[in-house]
Amino acid sequence: MYSYSDFDAAFVAERNRQFRAQVERRIDGSLTEDEFKPLRLMNGLYLQLHAYMLRVAIPYGTLNSRQMHKLADIADRWDKGYGHFTTRQNIQYNWPQLRDVPDMLDALAEVQMHAIQTSGNTIRNVTADHFAGAAADEVADPRPVAELIRQWSTDHPEFQFLPRKFKVAVTGSPNDRAVTAAHDIGLRIVERDGEIGYAVLVGGGLGRTPMIGKVLNDFVPQADLLPYIEAVVSVWNLLGRRDNKYKARIKITLHEHGIDEIRRLVEDRFAETRQAFNGADLALFDAIKAQFAAPSFTKRPISDFERAYESDPVFRSWADTNLSDHRAEGYAITEISLKAHGATPGDATSDQMRVIADIAREFGHDELRISHEQNIVLPHVHKADLPVIHARLKSHGLATANIGLISDIIACPGMDYCALATARSIPIAQQIATRFDELKLEHEIGALKIKISGCINACGHHHVGHIGILGLDRAGVENYQITLGGDHRADMALGGRTGPGFSAEEIIPAIERLIGAYLDVREGKDEPFLDTYKRVGMAPFKTALYGAEDAKRTKAA
């Protein structure tokens, strides 16, 4: 795994020292809030509804056990004994005191972590496929290039005051698990005639104006990648609408100028940036890549796994939902669900973090990943160890067998924490999970992604949920709008609105009716919700939601 160079360590230490002084100056009154706010945001410190919130980057979602232990210690010492893992591969602490934040940042630095560029108009924490380095379907590990981009972008002098935030995601596999088409730049590693390169998508984003990223270049060779990305950011940095923050993201720039014009400008700029790069980036890339070398996998019998699978139905059910194919024989990618029925999606207590860290150290080559779906991944475990791992997880409430099912919901913090929210999201997620667990229907329903946001900023990715739920404020009452048919994968699709929204009391029964309609019209268990929706369209679902008469009326409207 990537380890800080002396330069990185000195850089983070210097930033923390500066921030400590800034906090002191804020407290003693020599900085006003207007002066302090951009500084605290640059260091990941937000003010939410009830308290400050510290957002810590987990670059490309990768952690080792020591780092996870530190996250647990920080939660105990300076927060309320838990942390919230987010769709952006961050961890958020919801209750820090302003005075403690510099100490928290120093504690993070001890394990080479930080909160830099988790906020503000900069190039943000680069996200990557959470199965990176492990997936059977991978062309190449996306993390080395994510780290290369992180190093190039961190404190890049040209890009500290961009028109708006800028998000980059990388997938190394054709099965895009990193939602690359919803990012300002999405990179997809591809192979052409034996050469590794990148398909570069630009202008994706969710939020107020959701847009699907477009392919700007279908093959950028490794040697050209950084100068090419620099050209993209540089073109946008000049064209981006600084006059209006709702029009500042590159998706709007692309929309206003058109992909062909942007491509031409990028090519022009690329001719210049390419001269400025002298090949040092390639040497750096090779050095980084060496640090992401795969662990040495062993060959062992998997009979322990098979025995448990045959004899223990609880284990089997968990193995069926929570495991994915690993590239090494005998291994499995194991997802630990942070979606126990009725719990807050993405939350882990400090005890749970420690249990997970210890399992990773003992059985998982000391590697962990955080998925954008707010679960934790043990990327490399041998199947023979899974019965023991499962038993341990189970005794700490971590063996919920629901990955990819209806209760594996993405939910943003919503109005329980977020100052921008128009409605709550967490309780809706809790109630849906609890309800379908009571009905014992979730395995029958099969693959289904529900994603919930508490306002149009779409931090909960509702646009790309098979069922999306958007919480709004309608005349002082929480109101939930449903979208159907969104898809977060490589061929990304935005969901379509069903019609009028539902109150907090009505939304759970409404979801139940939707699912009832799906079970009625699907062509058997092998047709997942999204496929049924694509086959039959919105009509039966509208009828289920609004009744036959009203469904017709909303269609006419």
Binding site: G29, E33, L47, L49, A51, L98, D416
Partner: protein, 103 residues
């Protein structure tokens, strides 16, 4: 015609803890909405707001917000303020924990 002025309180977050606070009649910051001064005069409210905004060494994000008089002091008219006065709904954290302890 201008809209008639509706009663309001002044609220903010405490600088050090981030906790929600309300301005009292004697210009203290209280964590309890029941202690807040319900302002019924628009001119008074504006002056108090300007003064409160100057106290940036104590609080962050000062604003005026609608409330109605209740049996135990001002009551929120909007659910956002109801959450601010209580805490999150997924855990008994924040004010509701403090209130339970002192009850």
């Amino acid at each position: 015609m201008p809209k008639p002025f509706t009663p309001k309180v002044i609220t903010a977050n405490a600088l050090l803890s981030g906790e929600v606070v309300y301005l009292t009649a004697d210009d203290r910051w209280s964590p309890h909405l029941s202690d807040a001064d319900l302002l019924t005069d628009e001119a008074d409210a504006q002056v108090r707001l300007l003064d409160a905004e100057k106290r940036s060494h104590e609080v962050v994000g000062v604003y005026l917000v609608d409330m109605v008089p209740g049996a135990d002091g001002p009551e929120p008219t909007h659910f956002r303020e109801a959450f601010r006065r209580t805490g999150p709904s997924n855990y008994a954290h924040g004010k509701q924990a403090e209130l339970k302890r002192s009850a």
